[in-house]
């Protein structure tokens, strides 16, 4: 019996599968189910959702019985910084242009590294922006604004 099963990788995945499965089941009940000979849009997801709940419960149950070690600590810093960097550059790509979006991507994501020096970060921001321009705009003829209008 492992009382801290919710801290182990298996326990967490079991809980995730169960909850996700329950959500899918609940959602698919809102779609027409149809008959077996004429399945509606809800039938297939309903099956998947219920199977996921069963699988999730089995995984959780096994995790409670086993003595797996706790999962590694969640890297909040890296996860937040990298995700924000990607979303920011996505938001800026068409509004502020390539020459803003890529430097922003490089600058924000560099905060996640531990040993970055400012000079080398600026250098790689300039280098990667030029590379993106040469490969994708000049080379592959993609349509992305360079700057805001």
């Amino acid at each position: 019996m492992n009382e801290k099963f919710y801290r182990t990788p298996d326990g967490q995945s079991g809980i995730f599968f169960t909850l996700f499965g329950a959500f899918v089941t609940w959602q698919s009940l809102g779609y027409p189910l149809g008959k077996l000979s004429q399945m509606g849009p809800g039938m297939f997801p309903l099956g998947l959702g219920s199977l996921l709940v069963i699988v999730g419960l089995i995984v959780t149950f096994n995790a409670i019985r086993s003595s797996q070690e706790e999962a590694e600590p969640f890297e909040w810093r890296s996860a937040v910084i990298i995700t924000v960097a990607i979303i920011a550059s996505g938001l800026l790509l068409l509004t502020a242009g390539l020459f803003v979006s890529i430097p922003v991507l490089v600058l924000i994501s560099s905060l996640a590294g531990r040993k970055n020096r400012i000079a080398s970060v600026i250098l790689s921001a300039i280098g990667l922006t030029l590379m993106a321009w040469l490969i994708f705009l000049v080379g592959l003829d993609m349509r992305i604004p360079l700057f805001w209008n």
Binding site: F16, Q38, A71, S78, S101, L128
Partner: protein
């Protein structure tokens, strides 16, 4: 001979200067990205996929398969030189290859790996060419019930061969199937799981899923690592292996080719399984098993031949049945669908130029790999020593622009960012993401075949058991599941994956 006239059509296509050039670019770029520590074929292909959008389908596929072989070979180079295998299939190569490098024989190990790969690649090209039309002919007689059961077999096999817990792998396939059902339902036109988003109504883009799970998640996991210094790389002095090396390696490469070709076709099989099995086989047949783990040439030649052969033959089920047998093939199939080609038995007859061009380009790509890699190995070594802090912003840049280029909109960038976070969570929960990708790709087909089979059978679910071919396949799926549940097999499976720590 039918086979030779078909191969002739193929070579007419693959030897065209433009296609040779795309194959060349694919192999070079694939190797260049593949040698970077930590980037396996899945991440490499999803990152470079956008480069092929503007090409015509034949050229795009030729370039993509070049990228695939290049990435795989690049992974072996890194495994040998710095003991940092980028993917499961080069884990085995690292065992003896890196020991050889430690003993000052890095050059010989690299050359043996390259020669074994091209040897296996050449033979398995003919295997693919001979076997695919047969399988396609059989597949043409399949109805929806057979297809449904076949996909079930594929998914079950993928689950069994996934690393770690069986139940978790089943869960990941189910999650993939759910994600694949997002968007408008083909039959009824109902919106499913779109939550009012217009962009989600056409479904989630598979490149977003792949890049998020394989590229972004990996960066999140590794970027904060305090120990990520530049790896120590061995000097390469003499490239050419000795006579004794050749004598040891040739039979191992031959065995690896046969084993890899067979394992590649099986659903769920592929490069990783093939190289593990080939290593075990070599150890068993060797008169000096104690040499393994201490720099045995056979331990490099066998697995390298096997993983290359399997990489090629795993195209067979994808091209002829439309059923990818592993994550990489799921990605290749997604790439084909972007170019409006639906893989399946009709491809051979309807697009012979594409089909045979692709198969012969496998051979061309392998020859290029050797011609290119041995002289260029110095450049690859320089690439390996690029510090991670320069690498990951470049990967992010390629991914962001690549994601935009799919539909010329930024929505895909946002979904990929979400899948990056989700993928990182899966990593922490020790859930392998490849079965999810497979479920995602197969989901819509699985559902529509299920619906059609049930419609034809007027709602009678026994149709899957009364149609003989379908029943046999479901029995195979059941048998596969039983092998895992039964204790003696279960132990064997854990042994095989225990080496891949």
């Amino acid at each position: 001979m039918d086979l030779f006239s078909n191969l002739l059509i193929g070579f007419e296509t693959s030897l065209q200067p433009a296609n040779l050039l795309y194959c060349f670019i694919g192999v070079v770029v694939g190797t260049a990205i593949g040698v970077l520590p930590g980037l396996g074929p899945l991440a490499t292909i999803s990152m470079l996929l956008p480069l092929t959008y503007s090409l015509d389908p034949v050229a795009a596929l030729i370039m993509l398969s070049g990228i695939y072989y290049g990435a795989q070979y690049g992974g072996s180079t890194t495994a040998i030189l710095v003991n940092l295998p980028g993917e499961a299939s080069s884990v085995v190569t690292a065992i003896d290859g890196h020991k050889m490098a430690n003993a000052g024989r890095a050059g010989a190990a690299l050359a043996i790996a390259a020669l074994a790969s091209v040897f296996a690649g050449t033979i398995s090209t003919f295997f693919v060419a001979g076997f695919s039309p047969l399988l396609a002919k059989v597949a043409l007689s399949f109805g929806p019930a057979e297809y449904f059961s076949l996909m079930v077999v594929g998914l079950v096999a993928a689950v069994i061969l996934a690393h770690g817990s069986l139940m978790k792998a089943i869960g990941m396939v189910l999650v993939g199937l759910v994600i694949g059902s997002v968007g408008i339902d083909n039959n009824s036109g109902a919106y499913r799981f779109t939550f009012g988003s217009l962009e989600l109504s056409t479904g989630i883009e598979f490149v977003s899923v792949a890049m998020g799970l394989f590229a972004f998640a990996d960066i999140i996991a590794n970027v904060g690592d305090k120990t990520s210094n530049a790896p120590i790389i061995h000097k390469i002095s003499r490239l050419w292996p000795s006579r004794q090396d050749f004598r040891d390696a040739t039979p191992a490469a031959a065995r690896g080719t046969v084993l890899g070709s067979i394992l590649g076709i099986l659903p769920g099989g592929g490069a990783a399984l093939a190289s593990f099995s080939a290593y075990t086989l070599e150890k068993k047949v060797s008169r000096h098993p104690e040499r393994f783990g201490n720099g045995a040439v056979e331990g490099v030649a066998g697995p390298e031949a096997a993983n290359n052969a399997a990489a090629q033959t795993s195209f067979i089920p994808m091209l002829t049945l439309g059923i990818p047998s592993n994550g990489t093939m799921a990605l290749m199939m997604g790439a084909m669908m972007i170019h409006n080609i639906a893989p399946g038995p009709q491809v051979i007859t309807q697009q012979p130029v594409l089909f045979w061009g692709l198969i012969t380009s496998m051979f061309v790509g392998n020859v290029m790999l050797v011609l290119l890699n041995l002289p260029l190995v110095g450049i690859w070594v320089k690439l390996i020593s690029i510090p991670y802090r320069f690498l990951y912003p470049a990967i992010l840049m390629f991914c962001v622009i690549g994601l935009y280029s799919i539909q010329n909109q930024t929505f895909e960038i946002m979904t990929a960012a979400v899948f990056g976070l989700v993928g990182y969570l899966f990593m922490r929960m020790k859930c392998e993401p490849a079965p999810l990708l497979l479920g995602f790709i197969l989901g819509p087909m699985l559902e529509s075949n299920l619906k059609r089979a049930m419609l034809l059978a007027k709602g009678d679910a026994t149709t899957f058991f009364t149609r003989p071919v379908s029943a046999i396949m479901l029995l195979i799926a059941l048998g596969l599941l039983l092998t895992v549940v039964l204790p003696q097999f279960r132990k064997k499976r854990e042994e095989v994956f225990a080496e891949d720590a």
